[in-house]
């Protein structure tokens, strides 16, 4: 993976009448990266993808692919290829003819064309299905055909528009692994649009979380998950408890906070942020706290609470705990490991926490 940006999105804005779909979006995507655009419906992620593909033009701003400005370049001339959300498999052509579609302009010989088609089909595990038509293959198979058809063109960038949303859960998980594997193998930059946070977290090198036409945060999956910069991002990815706190003092990249109902702690101040006033919101992930069953003394900070509800998820149980001096119950998750007893509603517990449980949010 080089560091050179293969795609530069420079203050791209797209307005539809009075509605702003993209608001001065800027981001640089590196060559060979698996990059995801993540966000709820209507956040602009698909709009941005289509701008890169060339199916739409920005109202203002510029897009550069490998240093070349893309303004005025139509979709069929761009070095990108797209896997469409509903796959867009040509119904009047066979699988092999679909995959070979873009090769016509290269005027290859018949033998060479067939060789490449077979190669592409083998790459997505569809080697013996070349003669079938789109209504004779399953949804997952159609997705592979769409992939093969795009990859055979050796684009610089592969764009994927929610490619897994139409598949059922098991197939989706399987395809996530395969896509990641494929990307590593082929080495091309992938840009994935999805509303599924797990998908983005699993597959990406970097994620851009979008909301209301803007990129709120752009980081690696771990950074996004562990250190969300804002409440919006924190809410969208994973579960999160939001606690009120006040800043007591600041020094040297650290801030001392007093979290209502919990106590004091020193946390790292996130870079490039300023807090207005002394109040702030602290985020705490359910799995970054624990329930202390009495014997465990490794947590020197505990607060008391009562179990309100327990939600069983097989490998985990999510406990809703009411803490004194905190208005809403917090959620703490516990793995159902050997020997661990399940708690029932009404039981009194201790919640163990530490400074590493806390994330300051703007």
């Amino acid at each position: 993976m080089n560091e050179r940006p293969i795609i530069e999105i420079d203050r791209v804005t797209r307005k539809f009448g009075s509605f702003t779909a993209l608001d001065e979006v800027s981001v640089q995507i590196r060559e060979g990266e698996f990059f995801s655009l993540l966000g709820p419906s209507g956040c602009g992620k698909t709009t941005l993808l289509r701008q890169i593909a060339g199916f739409d033009d920005p109202t203002s701003g510029a897009i550069r692919i490998d240093g070349q400005a893309m303004v005025g370049v139509p979709a069929n001339r761009r070095p990108t290829n797209m896997v469409f959300q509903n796959y867009a498999i040509f119904p009047h052509l066979t699988v092999a003819q679909n995959v070979a579609y873009g090769l016509r302009r290269l005027h290859l010989g018949k033998a060479e064309r067939e060789r490449r088609v077979q190669e592409a089909l083998a790459q997505v595990d569809m080697a013996h299905l070349g003669a079938r038509r789109s209504n004779e293959i399953s949804g997952g198979q159609r997705q592979r055909v769409a992939l093969a058809r795009a990859l055979i063109m050796r684009p610089k960038v592969l764009l994927l528009d929610e490619p897994l949303s139409a598949l059922d859960k098991k197939l989706r998980e399987q395809m996530q692994v395969e896509l990641r594997h494929l990307q590593r193998q082929v080495g091309i930059t992938f840009i994935l649009v999805t509303h599924d946070q797990e998908e983005a977290l699993t597959m990406s090198d970097r994620i851009a979380v979008m909301f209301g036409g803007k990129i709120i945060q752009c980081d690696s999956p771990e950074e996004i998950y562990q250190r969300p910069r804002s409440r919006v991002v924190a809410e969208f990815i994973g579960g999160m408890n939001f606690l009120d706190a006040s800043i007591l003092s600041e020094s040297d990249g650290l801030i001392e906070v007093d979290v209502a109902g919990f106590g004091r702690a020193e946390v790292k101040k996130p870079a490039d942020t300023t807090f207005n006033g002394s109040g702030l919101t602290i985020g705490a992930r359910p799995e970054r706290m624990t329930l202390v069953y009495g014997e465990d003394a490794s947590f020197n900070r505990v607060v008391s609470g009562t179990v309100v509800e327990a939600s069983y998820y097989g490998d985990m149980t999510y406990y809703s705990i009411a803490i004194d001096a905190v208005d809403r119950p917090i959620v703490v998750s516990m793995r159902n490991t050997i020997g661990r007893r399940s708690l029932a509603a009404g039981e009194k517990v201790q919640v163990g926490w530490g400074p590493e449980s806390l994330v300051p949010l703007t």
């Binding site: 069929n76 509903n86 040509f90 873009g102 016509r104 302009r105």
Partner: protein, 269 residues
């Protein structure tokens, strides 16, 4: 299906629609020059007469020429119109669509006399060409109606995929759009052909010395002796229309299925 008053009504209604039409073939086999009950016996001599009838065959040839020209041109114009109306948005779209579809609701005589006046004032002679021009005007709305259902259900991302893979808009149209819409186009050709073949009043006003088949039939209706011949001809025309239209319907359904739309909906609407 339960036997309820409404279903009885439905079947009676269907009978009401078809029975009058069936009288034509019935009497075309009647062994009598008088078109009246009771039936005198069966014969095919009226059909045999048609074979020797040069004038009628001349009129048939004229009608065929007009119908072919009309169907081709009307379908081409219909493809442009249906595509523009289903795919694009532009100012004035509603007004333009209304004008193009207007012949569906205007009394035919208005179309006939307006064209007559204009063509003569411009110095054109009346001929099969003027008839063709009038027929095209009337057939285009039907062509657009048939093709719209093909274009409407058409998945737009198929064309985008073709562009994405490197083809320009024109090539995309020929490699992707046209093959998928082809049955709809065939259907449009058949429908417009049939409309032109059957059309009387515009042809009546706009034809010169060469009659079309309906005009020939009209001229024969005065001669009672010739009536059974006309019935035979009419029955054949009826059969041809029904066959053509059935094929058109099958084609339309296939087009709808190919483009992903529901073939059981709406028919020609």
């Amino acid at each position: 299906m339960k036997i309820r008053p409404l279903s009885i009504y439905a079947f009676l209604y269907l009978a009401f629609l078809y029975v009058p039409v069936l009288f034509l073939p019935i009497f075309s086999f009647n062994d009598s020059a008088i078109v009246a009950f009771p039936i005198q016996g069966l014969t095919t001599r009226w059909y045999e007469n048609l074979w020797a009838n040069d004038v009628m065959q001349g009129a048939l040839w004229n009608s065929l020429r007009v119908a072919v020209a009309c169907s081709v041109i009307a379908t081409i114009l219909g493809i442009c119109g249906a595509r523009a109306l289903t795919r694009y948005h532009f100012p004035g779209k509603g007004g333009m669509a209304a004008l193009i579809m207007l012949p569906l609701v205007l009394p035919e005589i208005i179309i006939a006399i307006s064209l007559l006046v204009v063509l003569l004032q411009l110095g054109f002679n009346l001929s099969l060409i003027s008839v063709t021009l009038g027929h095209i005007l009337m057939a285009v709305p039907f062509s657009i109606a048939v093709l719209s259902s093909s274009f409407e259900g058409f998945d737009r991302s198929l064309e985008e995929a073709s562009l994405d893979l490197g083809e320009g808009p024109a090539v995309t149209f020929f490699r992707v759009t046209l093959p998928i819409v082809a049955p709809g186009i065939l259907s449009s050709l058949l429908v417009t052909f049939t409309i032109s073949l059957d059309e009387f009043i515009v042809a009546f006003f706009l034809s010169g010395t060469e009659p079309t088949l309906p005009i020939y039939i009209w001229s024969q209706l005065r001669f009672t002796a010739k009536l059974p011949d006309v019935l035979a001809l009419g029955s054949l025309l009826l059969l041809a229309s029904v066959v053509l239209l059935s094929v058109a319907e099958v084609m339309r359904r296939r087009a709808a299925k190919r483009a992903g739309a529901d073939p059981a909906s709406g028919g020609f609407l």
